[in-house]
Amino acid sequence: MADVSVSQLASMIDASIAGRPAATLGEMEAFFQSLTPYRLAAVMVEPRYVRSAVEYFHPRKQNVVTVISYPLGAMTTEAKLIQMAEALSDGVDELDLAMDLSAFRSGDFAKVADELRAARIMAGDHLLKIIYYSAILSEDDSLRAAELIVNAGVTFLKTNPGYGNVTTPAHVRAVKQRFGDALRVMASGGVRTHQDAVAMIEAGADRIATSSPFAVLGVES
């Protein structure tokens, strides 16, 4: 693992902009330009910037991902589907959807599952990842959430939305050990350095979400 190349690591990264929220278009464009030397798994932008990102990155053969019902997962299923449809029509390649954590913690698993199935259908051929809040759930509940997600036909998990929800290698290991190759996992939340990323990958992470892509790549201190 220690000798992973920059390009191999880059191909596992979903990169988002660092620093203050509500970035301006100018700040986003500078961020886009800073990423052009690398072929990443995806560039993560908020819904309002999907069109700009698609316009910039699609000619460069770089995928764009956006977040749905982010970061709280508390929109209604109907609103989540509309938000997904809009992002898809704006040209987004991948969608990261936040699970309804309230319904899950209320034990309303049927509601969670119905929403996940509807989202999978809406996503069509586009990659869909489900944020399941591993930083908030117990390991048992994380595994139960992962099972609901897999049973709904979605095979990519995203651990956390960030915003103070920190992922540990143990979170990643728990779901990877249970589901193995049936499931891919993106470690998201608190992955800031090359060492953080390597620890996640050693725990089984298939992808890394980070707002510090250069530190993770080890190409910038």
């Binding site: 203050r20 929220p21 509500a22 970035a23 301006t24 278009l25 100018g26 908020e46 819904p47 309002r48 910037y49 982010y70 970061p71 709280l72 997962g73 508390a74 929109m75 209604t76 109907e78 609103a79 509309i82 938000q83 809009e86 704006d90 309804d100 954590l101 309230s102 319904a103 899950f104 913690r105 209320s106 309303d108 809040y133 908030i136 915003y163 103070g164």
Partner: protein, 234 residues
């Protein structure tokens, strides 16, 4: 205006629960308590509007929900659809996060357009509050955003989401004074974000706030009702 009675104070408070992963039972208990304490409004997340609606039935307590919360980074179509969905489920009031990035870029036309579009999908009688997230804006940007929201048809301009994950400062009486100095007298101001004690509430009301958003409504009412106990503690 300063409240003279406990009930006058309760009437201007939006008792708020926007926590991540709150269960239906927890939310039902929260709303029932708010009704019992005669808060004017509860402010809750969209997936809980229908639940809250059932609990407030027969009371005077209104149901507010948040749209594009907490980032405001959705396109106007989505904000409109989310608002329509919330109203259908029984929301009386809409707390809409504006396009904060547009505010930072000084694109006040974009803010006016989105607020106007959302106002356009509201039936008569549904109140529109627009959250302009002042902690992320300069004074000039905040004034531009507030006036654009007012032009777009906002009934109330709200200072901040108060979302902890953003790591932003709380709302101050100066924020409210700034808004009061530029908005029309008929446009309300909701102070929200870190307003957790009666002295802070008194300060923002004195500065011109007409509503308070807080998750500490019960403690604030208690401090208002027992001013001596508060000063003894201090």
């Amino acid at each position: 205006m300063m409240p003279r009675t406990r009930d006058e104070l309760a009437a201007v408070i939006d008792q708020t629960q926007l926590g991540l992963g709150v269960t239906r039972k927890e939310l039902e208990a929260f709303v029932a308590k708010a009704v019992e304490q005669r808060f004017g409004c509860v402010c809750i997340l969209p997936n809980m509007v229908a639940v809250a609606r059932r609990v407030v039935a027969g009371s005077r307590t209104k149901v507010a929900t948040v749209i594009s919360f907490p980032l405001g980074a959705d396109v106007p179509n989505v904000k409109c659809a989310e608002t329509r969905d919330a109203v259908e489920r029984g929301a009386d009031e809409i707390d809409l996060v504006i396009d904060v990035a547009a505010a930072r870029m000084g694109d006040t036309d974009a803010i006016e357009r989105e607020v106007s579009a959302v106002r356009g999908v509201l039936p008569d009688g549904v109140l529109l509050k627009t959250i302009i997230e002042m902690p992320l804006l300069t004074q000039e940007q905040a004034i531009g955003a507030a006036l654009a929201a007012e032009r777009g048809g906002a009934h109330i301009v709200k200072t901040s989401t108060g979302f902890k994950g953003l790591g932003i400062r709380g709302t101050t009486a100066d924020d409210v004074r700034l808004l009061r100095s530029v908005l029309r007298p008929g446009t309300g101001i909701k102070a929200a974000g870190g307003i957790s004690s009666w002295p802070l509430v008194a300060a923002v009301l004195d500065a011109g706030a007409t509503r308070i958003g807080t998750s500490s409504g019960a403690a604030i009412i208690e401090q208002f009702s027992k001013p001596l106990a508060v000063s003894a503690k201090a």
